[in-house]
Symmetry: C2
Subunit: 168 residues, 2 copies
């Protein structure tokens, strides 16, 4: 680990891996959360990366490795969880974390179906902490899908790469 590695850029991501995530975000927010969501153009993750208050993380293994992270400011998290659950849920309770985890799970699960690759996804991890960052690892490509809703903005980070060619 030399200091020279600090300067290396993020690795490129395969655009074919991104479309299923964009489509899944749109579908989940239209049909499950029922909040109007504008999905902006995906872009490379900035360095230093933005900070959030709540994150739900789902890991991928198999032919696609990496993770997908749904990161929200607290105000947006509370509004979206209330819309999703049909009632306000106090932040910091297991129910609140479950709802954030389930949002991440639906986005990752929806995308997985359309990747056309053999991948497993993990149960969610949920992070709560004012102004935390999901660090960029040097060998995992990072794409951010910015999302705008009337309840506040959030971002879906797709940090995945394909390690095997599909069987068909």
């Amino acid at each position: 680990m030399s200091t020279e590695t600090l300067k290396k850029p993020a690795p490129a991501i395969n655009p074919k891996l991104i479309a299923p995530f964009v489509n899944s975000v749109r579908s989940v927010f239209q049909t499950m959360v029922k909040v109007e969501t504008t999905v902006q153009m995906p872009r490379l993750k900035a360095d230093p990366c933005p900070s959030y208050d709540v994150s739900g993380i789902i890991g991928f293994s198999g032919d696609v490795i990496g993770n997908v992270v749904v990161s929200l400011q607290m105000a947006a998290a509370k509004s979206l969880v209330a819309a999703f659950a049909g009632m306000p849920i106090e932040a910091g309770t297991p129910d609140f974390s479950d709802a954030i985890g389930e949002l991440a799970n639906m986005i990752a699960g929806g995308a997985k179906k359309h990747l056309g690759l053999a991948a497993s996804i993990t149960v969610p991890s949920v992070i709560i902490g004012r102004g935390h960052q999901i660090a960029r690892l040097s060998d995992v490509p990072c794409i951010v899908i910015p999302c705008v809703t009337p309840a506040g903005d959030f971002a879906v980070e797709v940090n995945v790469k394909q390690v095997n060619q599909p069987a068909n």
Copy 2:
């Protein structure tokens, strides 16, 4: 999601799933990090859970699902990364995150070998943020393995459950 679910206790964890993680933490810190580490008695995760500055998360899927989290205060993270890498590494750089991710990966990978189950592990996610918490999800058991080193304390959280019986 009713308010009654807020009161439900964490589900029980199979003790046989914990020993491989305890042994792996000992082995990684003795042989790779080369820092004297006292592994304390594993205990159920407290609610509300303690907060940390740096966390490395590895997901499990397959016959064991869940995740393992290595959570550190920043002072301990800097000291342990310096011991592991053989030189100080600035916090917030990709090299620092890579080192934290690699620590989590070695602990999860070492434990996976001794679980005797078919499980896949993900690449790490690394969270950096002063005083963040890893939320407790209502259906994932949570055990904390507290670890004490001269460089500062850290904790390994094991949030896993077995979903299939082993083949043999």
